[in-house]
Amino acid sequence: MYRKSNFCIFAAVVLAAVLNVCVTPLYAQSIAEKTQLCAGCHGADGKPIDKTIPTLWGQQAGYIYIQLRDFKRGDRKSDIMQPIASSLERQDMLDIAEYFSKKPWPDLGQPSASKDVAARAVSANQSIGCTGCHLDHFQGDGTVPRLAGMGKDYLAKQMTDFRSRARGNNPGMSDLMLATPPDDLVALAEYLSGL
């Protein structure tokens, strides 16, 4: 899932975080302390340190909560996120989700898609109706994530993982990705990241 060169860094961050959690009970931590760990990968300024890591700042609170819940349940697999989420209670997840949702969405400086790529992405959207859930301008709402301006590599990987069911915590998304040709998914990732 993550590039090997970065894995050691992530592992160190996670180890430190887990140790921190062990030393200080979660209920005694402030929201800033609870989320300190997250910044190690997702970025202290909201910009993820790696292109395959999602943006959390400005993301929909309901979506962040559901992902944390699913990591804890094991419905969404991640060697990094599962140990972190397993220590969180429901209210912690909701608090963390709200905290990040209130932050401004960072500009990752990704270029707009070319006219041809955009046309292909728009056509794919019209076919399967992405905006039916992700809403106008792909801003998301509630438990549905914002896609506009998300990292391109992360978007591409998630769509591919849904398609192969490697990401198994939303079979409806898997069904929609399976009904979409891989080339269209490439176009969608480029288009969405540049919005």
């Binding site: 419905d75 019209q126 109706g129 905006t131 106008d136 409806g172 979409t180």
Partner: protein, 570 residues
């Protein structure tokens, strides 16, 4: 501020400039604003609601009256003068998203809603905002097809609203303050609310969305004064298997593998707990028999029937209940074991119809996603007839495949949620339709704990042209009387009036009036955003208005806006 106020203010301003040297100290005062945050609205009585069909001043129920005819009895605006219709006022809401609201009007006060469950009280004469209820949405909402809200209903001095995070709320009609609030169901399990409640005899009736999330559908009745739950009818019974029907309501074979389904039933049991069956449009109320009639949506997962053996009762059905108890009276299933999401969503309408023997009887009609209008006997829900197809039908009922199988209509219909209108004097039902050629795909996956559970996908075919139509059907013969073709699929709703007109809008922003007898277009207006909401009508100060939301549509991705537009003559 209405347009006359603007002109008046401009004239006063010019006069002030001209006279300035002589009367430099004179001040020009504008009229004081009306009491901000207050709506002068009289309590709505049950008697008023019962006779809403004859009320040519107010618009009291989502679909005009308890029979849901969407036939408005005022006729000041008619076929001769509708060409003079113009904008009386425009109100811009704070929410630029899909607008599906049916404006409710009570004695000059209008109540409209927007996406994300906002409510506004407006002066129906001027469009001035009287109050705004901004619902504090919980962090968890689970819904497909847009953060829609279709409106409110008023009884007494309370305004009833159901929210996207699945709460039922009573607001003070004068101030918009919350009087009581109750949880309907858990949004984390896939439940949400987009419909307007139906309030009748001190009960608030509400269904639920969630057919794409493996919910178990219901209609619930709450005490209108306190919010206490009175009864629940589960739209999926514990025995949902049915009669292993192999043909649809029109007699076409649905290609079910009954033996495979029976084997699955023996292995996994009745799938009733996660079978879907949402109800997200208002029930019609038969005041004479104290029964309600509503339609039940698709089974979960939408396209994969392998995990849900049986007819999947009462999905894709017309259902009638006793209003007082919520007990089952009768049902009719249009499509057993649906694997195309061609379910029943456009609200049921009560009209007198000709029975099979030609005698006039109380009937109930429903416009299907299949493109047929179905006519039933109200006594036992049995089917009397179905209309000619209003849209092209091809390859029905081919089963969805992994590679995708083409079939018409597409999964949105036919007639989507859009309420129909009727004109009993002409024996006509008016429906708006979509034509979207689609491929149907099937996939298999286990129940995902409240997540999107489609069991495949329905995918519009990019190379095939989409379109729409407005169709008038004689419900006593099943024949199409007239049809107007539109360049884009139609979704939103329609209103018929005693002025011999029907009003409806399109996704491209066109809002138009048609002669209700022959479909001739008599007037149109360009709203600048999709007009995908059902129009209402009302009278204030002796003047008839037509009002409609122009906010576009999420589901079909029509251009978004945030306007409520009222039209009148002169």
């Amino acid at each position: 501020m209405n347009r006359f106020s603007i002109v008046g203010a401009a004239l006063v301003g010019v006069a002030g400039l001209l006279a300035a040297p002589a009367i430099a100290q004179q001040e020009t005062k504008q009229e004081p604003k009306s009491a901000s945050g207050q709506a002068k609205v009289s309590p709505v009585t049950q008697q008023q609601l019962n006779s809403a069909d004859k009320n040519s001043t107010n618009f009291l129920l989502t679909n005009g009256n308890y029979a849901q005819t969407r036939f408005y009895p005022a006729k000041q605006i008619d076929r001769d003068n509708v060409k003079n219709l113009h904008v009386a006022w425009i109100f811009q809401t704070d929410v630029k998203e899909s607008l599906e609201t049916s404006p409710i009007v009570v004695d000059g006060v209008m109540f409209v809603t927007t996406s994300f469950s906002h409510v506004y009280a407006l002066d129906a004469k001027t469009g001035e905002q009287l109050w705004h209820y901004n619902h504090k949405m919980g962090p968890i909402t689970t819904y497909c097809c847009g953060p829609n809200n279709r409106g409110v209903q008023v009884l007494g001095d309370l305004v009833y609203l159901a929210t996207l995070d699945s709460k039922l709320i009573a607001l003070n009609a004068k101030s918009g303050e919350v009087v009581w609030k109750t949880d309907i169901a858990d949004p984390e399990q896939g439940y949400s609310e987009t419909m307007a409640p139906t309030v009748i005899k001190d009960k608030v009736l509400i269904g639920t969305n969630g057919g794409e999330y493996g919910i178990r559908g219901f209609v619930k009745a709450y005490d209108a004064k306190t919010g206490k739950l009175l009864w629940t009818f589960n739209t999926v019974p514990e025995n949902s298997v049915g009669v292993w029907a192999t043909k649809d309501a029109t007699g076409r074979d649905m290609h079910r593998n009954i033996q495979a389904e029976k084997d699955q039933l023996a292995k996994t049991g009745d799938p009733y707990q996660k079978l879907g069956g949402g109800v997200w449009q208002n029930p019609a109320v038969d005041l004479a028999t104290n029964r309600i009639y509503f339609v039940v949506g698709n089974p979960s997962p939408d396209l994969d029937g392998s995990v849900r053996p049986g007819d999947n009762l009462y999905t894709d059905s017309l259902v009638s209940l006793d209003l007082d108890t919520g007990k089952y009276v009768c049902h009719f299933q249009y499509i057993a074991h649906d694997v195309w999401d061609l379910d029943a969503v456009s609200p049921a309408v009560l009209v007198d119809v000709k029975g099979k023997d030609g005698k006039t009887i109380p009937g109930v009609i429903h416009a299907g996603k299949t493109g047929h209008i179905y006519v039933h006997d109200r006594k036992d829900c049995s089917l009397i007839r179905f209309s000619e197809a209003m849209v092209p039908q091809e390859n029905m009922w081919v089963l969805p495949t992994k590679e995708g199988a083409r079939m018409l209509p597409g999964a949105n219909g036919g007639v989507e949620w859009s309420p129909i209108a009727t004109d009993p004097g002409q024996e006509l039902a008016y429906a708006i339709n979509l034509h979207q050629p689609m491929n149907y795909f099937v996939e298999n996956s286990p129940y995902p704990n409240g997540k999107l559970w489609l069991g495949g996908a329905f995918k519009a075919i990019p190379t095939e042209k989409q379109s729409g139509n407005i169709t008038a059907v004689n419900y006593n013969t099943g024949k199409i009387k007239w049809q107007v073709k539109t360049p884009e699929p139609m979704i939103g709703g329609i209103l018929a009036t005693a002025g011999g007109l029907v009003f409806t809008g399109e996704g491209n922003g066109k809002f138009a009036a048609y002669n209700s007898s022959n479909g001739k277009e008599l007037w149109n207006f360009r709203a600048g955003a999709g007009v995908n909401a059902p129009p209402s009508s009302y009278m204030v100060g002796g003047k008839q208005y037509i009002v409609v939301g122009a906010g576009g549509n999420t589901q079909v991705d029509f251009h978004r806006g945030n306007n409520i537009i009222a039209f009148s003559l002169n």
